[in-house]
Every structure is written in structure tokens, then in C-alpha cells.
Symmetry: C3
Subunit: 299 residues, 3 copies
């Protein structure tokens, strides 16, 4: 049985570009279980793509291969690579930082090759669609049984392009300067902060964003948010997110990915003048730093 | 061979949320035929989601399992359930009315369980993604052969949350007060009226909507609509829809889902002053009422 | 093993309409490898759909069947057909020009049938969803082993509706009047011109569009475009496209599909006054003309 094959791109849902990857893979690796992981990464947004690669490859089956394409540098000299991670999972894509957080999360790649053997690629009518012509064919050939080392020259995993995951930082006045990682379809505003970055027992925070101040209460569910108010919840990936109940927190905050958010812990709900100094206990590690603890196994 | 597995959500097409469901299912139930039924339900719109569940589960193969997630109450005490319907089809989702029309259409669930056995769930880093952590794992385990009764405590199907399907009503003056169920991508305006709700031989109706009046002629195809005019067609689900030819009826009417539409049968096309009293012959049954006639088999 | 089954529609990504096709096919042809080729064709845009059918069916496996639905004439008398092309590939869809470029590219259909045997269709509650009721069931039955000739009456492939592919033309003053075929998600503006339509060694062109003039330099990659400038690249299908680096060329040009673009070769970069006469060497053939050279095999 052939290996499962994931796809994660910025091509847009339901576009011909996604369809081309699937058609190529269905031809080269018939019977392989193809999984669309995400195709709505904003065009060229390598940072956001890299966060999704880390989140979703973790959920893929052992021995799976995932094609990752967010590749504004296509057609230039940037390397194309295939990296073997824990549990035999392989990620294939451009060496532009896109794959770095997935690699770092499992403590590094066990093997890496540069995709220099063009006999595994398709003949391309133009140089701008490596997804169809390089990444999908190579990934499908891995699924069909071609060994990793046949795809090209081995490279040192330590020389791969590092990622761009932003870390939050603590200011001398005790506030945290965080960043909006993403706004999802429901208007939830995901921050680059985990619940352990706030003092135990924190019930409410002040958020400063775009010149305005907001108060958000810790909640466990959307329905716990006061009507018209904002909540601070642990989201589905274990990070803190600003949320609202059946409305968009992002619209209320006028927040977008990449925005700076200054967070202060409130000593007393509703009294924004009294704040408590905090300690960032577990800022997200830079993606290139690596984490020796395995977090790759999920089932 | 494992059971086919459908997905119907408000997560948005091509999003990481949809990808997470697929990755989890590919891991738990390898080789299962996964079917994306719809992912463009407006965020949190349980009513519209419930209409789609009924329409699409009907088309799924016998013995299939469908994961349904439109779940604004995630993280609260609302129940998570799996319901067995006709032909061995199972639907899995929140007990918030989302599954009710599908259940009612086939005259009730034959078995129902509350998903209380957490050994079938994933360890969740946060409480807000039951699709990934509860519904998809449970559905995939059903596909892989786990019996329904192993998933948790049996519940009485009669105690499930009823649905919210709006019914049209007849007014004393003979007009029908209907509702826009949905506007599709082509701008067709689907009403909660069937063709049998109008008197036989009706050729034209007046529509009152948002303070304006419009005339629509009965047509069988988009191309039969007069240029610049409106048609009233039997749509692909057997309901009446206001349509235009290669343009958007919804834009012409400025109509959106949930809008009230007052329908009068015209005695003479083009003369909006002469109307005929009507009798609602077959208003859509309330979703919780049940329908003993099987309509679940399609092939 | 059943034949692979592709889908290409204007139904919109992640919609219930796409889901219905999949559910029907999963029921009729269990185990068939279903491939979503594209669902973001603008509603009713047969011309653009036909370009995608040609591009993507070429990438599908031998013996595959592809369901193509861009069908503004649904419910009228337009024919529904299944056409056998090279390598045993079959396309199924309306006979409205949608399938013509795919047929022309391989020099004509080897067999064609009109889908007149309704025993292979589903009972339809309304006449407006032939994708679910006619095209998907028929395609799935082909995948499950039903022979082409069982689907209906044979028709003469020469009598199929021709396509609408626009050709570029050369003006007496040596300029080329081209057309925008499409604007993709990245803002690349694809023209109906190939690189051989410009004189060898062309380094720069002037584009006239909507009353404005622009200069674009030949580039091989997005990153070679001067900041704020425009490039002319060979795109992923071997055609010329106007591109920018990490921004949208379409926004800069205010260009949309179908716009006329007058192209002049510049003798000297940056000097728009000096132009060189050109010869259109390889204008795209009209889709109905046919091309005896096989271009259907890709691997």
C-alpha cells in the first residue's frame, strides 16, 4: 500500500493549481490517499504557511509525505528539498523557511536531500510552477516507493533556511509585546502567547492595539463571553486567542495577522489602570532552534 | 473495506480546520473513502447547516458515516452525539439542531449515543476544536469498525434538540409568507416553498420583499427567463427558487438568507393588482416532526 | 480497479454542489480515485472553463473519466455528451463548447455519445442540476465499468459545438492585439500569446490597456522584476504572463479576463517610442480546428 500524501499550498481552495497537483499525483502514485491540508495560505505568506505545516504534518499518519508550496522565490536559485522527520514522515518543498517550524518541533530532520535529480521531475513548459513540475511528482514518487536518497544530493539539515516564527517579549514595565499570528474564519485573533505566559489565576487582561485599549476576560468557550465584550481563550492549538460570542473579535479589534498587541494583566476586572507585572514563561521557541522533546506523535 | 466518511462543516473551503479533520481520519481509518460534502456554511449558521446535512446525507452511500460540525456552542455543555439513520448511515455532530432535519426526513434515528467515552477522542490542547478532537476521531473509528454502542451512553432519540426549519404560512388574504432559505453562488434565491404550494397552473407570481414588488414567471430553465426579468423555477432540490438568466436574481431582489418574501399568485401575467388566493398544500414539515415515509434511498 | 474520476465545475470550492457530485460518485463507483481539478470557474464562464478542461485533463491518468460542468444552458435542449479522447481518457459534460479545446488538442474525439439513455441518470426533483443527476452518475458508471456505447446514441464528433478560444492577431503597424485569458490568485495576467509569438531576443514590450501604457521586461522569475515594475514571463502553461514581484500585476494594470492588450516590442528598454514589428508565429489554434499532433501524454 502506498504512503499517504498531503498537500499544503497558497494556491487557493478549488483552483486549477491544486487540481494539477492532484492529477499529477493520481497518475504517479495511483491508490495513494491524498489529503488536502490547507490551500488558503495568503499568497506568498511563508511565515503563516510554516505555522500550518507544523500544525498539520503533526496530525498526518506515520510514513506520510506532505507537499508544501508557499514559494514566492520559484524560478530563482532557492533549493528544493525533501526532509525526513520523526515517524518516517517526509515534507517536500522549497528551502525558504516554510518547513523550518515542522523540523524544529521534532528536534531536527533525520535526513535531507536537495531535489537535484531532474529525472524525477516533469518536463515544464515554464519555470514558475514547481508544485506541479517538481514537488508533487517527487512526493508522489516517494509515495510510490522511490527511496529518499534517489531524489538528489544529500544536504546537511543544519544548513536549511531557518523559520520566521515571531516570539513575544516582556517589557521592563511588565507588559508583554505580542503579535497577532492569524485571524481565522470566525474572527478569532490568535496570539503568539500560550496560557503559561500569563501569571496563574489571571482573569482579565488589557490589550493595546492600534491606539485603542480593550479588556478581555479569560473564558473557556465562546458562549462565556459577555455580550458585546471580548474573551481570551485557549484555542485549538493551545495558544491564547481573543474571541467573541457569535461575532468577530477581529472586527471589534480591527486586528490583522502581524499586528502588535501589548498585553497587560489586570489586577481587577474592569479597572484598566491597575496592572500586574508578568513573566513570559514559555515564549514560542524560534523555529530554527529545535526542540529535543518529541511532539510528533499524536495517536 | 472501511465505511465511507463524509464531512460537512462551517470551517471554510480549503482551511486548516478541514485539513485537520482529514489528517486525523486518514490516520485512524486508512483507506476509508472521505467525501467533502460542504464547508461553506456561514460561520455558526446551524439552520443552513441542518438543511445541507439533510440534502447531502441522503446522497451518501449506505453504511456511510458523516461528520457534521456547525457548532457555535463548542466548549459548553451541549451534547456530542452519533445517530444511526436508515440504511446504516450514521451522522456525528453536536446536539444543537444541526442533525434534526436529516433525522426527521427518515422518520427518526434508530439508535443514538452520547459521545461520552473519551478514550475515543484525541487529547486536546484546547477545548474549542471538537471537530478535530471528538467528531472526526469518533467518525473515523466507526469507519474502522468500532461499534456505535462503544462510543458512549445510549440516549433517547426523542430527546434530541429539534431543528429550526422555517415553515411558510398562508395569510387570511390568500398570500403566502415565505422565507429565503439560501442564495447560492449563481444568485438563485431558494424559497421554503415547493411547487405544490402554489395552485395548479400558476404562471406568474408577485413577490414582495424589502418594500418592493417584483413579478416572476414560472420557468423550467434559466434561459427561459425574459432578459432583465425574473423567473420562478423548481430548483435542484425540488423547491421553488427565484432565478435570472446569466445574472443574479439575489442582486436584483437584494435578497439574503432569512429574508421574508410575500408571494401572491397573479391571475394575469403583468397585472400585479389581480391576485388569486392560494392554499399551502405541502409546507415543509417542522424538522423535529418526523416523516414516517422513507426518503433516504436514492439509487 | 475502477477508473480515476475528475471533477471540473463552476460550482464554487467547498459548496454543496461539489459535495453532491462526490456523494453520488462514491455511491455508484466505490473505491474510484476522485480528483477535484477546479471548482472556481466564474459562474457560467464556458470559455475559461474550456481552457481549464484542456489544461487539466492532459494531466489526468490514462483511462480516467472527467466530469466537466459549466452549463448556463442547463434545462434547455443542449446535448449532454461523453467523448473518448487519446489514452482512453473520457470527458463528460454539456455540448456547449466546454469540451472543445480538450478535444481539439488531441486531434479529435475517437468516440462520442449523446447521453440519451436515462436509465443511467438519477431521478431528479428538478431540472436544474444535471451535474448531480446526469453527468456525475454517468461518469461514475463509466468508472465502474459501464461501456461508453451503453450511455446513449453515438454522435459524429465533427458535429460537436466548437470552442471559443480567442486568437491574437497582428496589426498592419506590427503590434499584436492580444487578450487577457485569466488573472490568477497571485495577480498574474495570462495572455493568449506564447513566447514564440515575439521576435527572438525580445527583452521588453510595451503594453497598451485601458488607455494606459506600460513597459514590461522579459523575466524568468518573479524576483527578477524591478521593484514597482512589471515583468513578462513564460507562465506554467507555456504562455506569456504579465507579472510583478510579490504584488499583483493585475491591480497595477487594472486588468481582467477578456480585456484587450496591445503589445509592441520595444527596440530599447525604457524607450517606448521605438517599436519593432513582430510576426505572430504560433497563435493559439481555434479550439475547433484540431491538432493532429498528440499532446495528450505527459509522463
Amino acid at each position: 500500500m502506498s504512503r499517504p500524501l498531503g498537500f499544503l499550498t497558497d494556491y487557493g481552495p478549488g483552483t486549477e493549481h491544486v487540481g494539477a497537483l492532484h492529477a499529477v499525483a493520481a497518475t504517479i502514485a495511483p491508490g495513494s490517499d491524498r489529503v488536502d491540508l490547507a490551500h488558503d495560505v495568503p499568497p506568498g505568506d511563508v511565515r503563516w504557511g510554516s505555522i500550518l505545516v507544523e500544525r498539520l504534518v503533526r496530525l498526518m499518519p506515520r510514513q506520510s509525505v506532505t507537499t508544501c508550496v508557499v514559494d514566492p522565490g520559484v524560478g530563482t536559485g532557492r533549493r528544493a528539498v525533501a526532509l525526513e522527520l520523526e515517524w518516517g514522515k517526509v515534507v517536500v518543498g522549497p528551502d525558504n523557511g516554510l518547513l523550518a517550524p515542522a523540523v524544529a518541533m521534532v528536534g531536527g530532520a533525520t535526513r535531507a536531500v536537495s531535489l537535484t535529480d531532474t529525472s524525477h521531475h516533469l518536463d515544464a513548459p515554464g519555470p514558475l510552477f514547481d508544485g506541479r513540475d517538481v514537488f508533487a511528482p517527487v512526493a508522489a514518487r516517494l509515495c510510490a516507493g522511490v527511496p529518499l536518497e534517489d531524489l538528489g544530493e544529500p544536504v546537511d539539515p543544519a544548513g536549511l533556511m531557518p523559520g520566521l516564527m515571531p516570539g513575544a517579549r516582556e517589557e521592563p514595565d511588565g507588559t508583554i509585546v505580542a503579535e497577532v499570528l492569524w485571524v481565522d474564519r470566525f474572527g478569532n485573533v490568535q496570539l503568539n502567547l500560550g496560557p503559561d505566559d500569563l501569571p496563574p489565576g489571571t482573569e482579565s487582561v488589557e490589550l493595546r492595539l492600534g491606539g485603542s485599549r480593550y479588556t478581555a476576560r479569560r473564558v473557556r468557550a465562546f458562549s462565556e463571553v459577555t455580550p458585546g465584550g471580548l474573551g481570551l481563550a485557549v484555542d485549538s492549538y493551545g495558544m491564547l486567542a481573543v474571541v467573541a460570542d457569535r461575532s468577530s473579535a477581529a472586527e471589534e479589534l480591527r486586528a490583522a495577522a502581524g499586528d502588535e498587541v501589548v498585553v497587560s494583566v489586570l489586577g481587577d476586572v474592569g479597572d484598566p489602570a491597575v496592572t500586574t507585572a508578568v513573566q513570559i514563561g514559555r515564549a514560542p521557541a524560534p523555529a530554527s532552534a529545535g526542540d529535543p522533546t518529541s511532539r510528533g506523535e499524536n495517536f
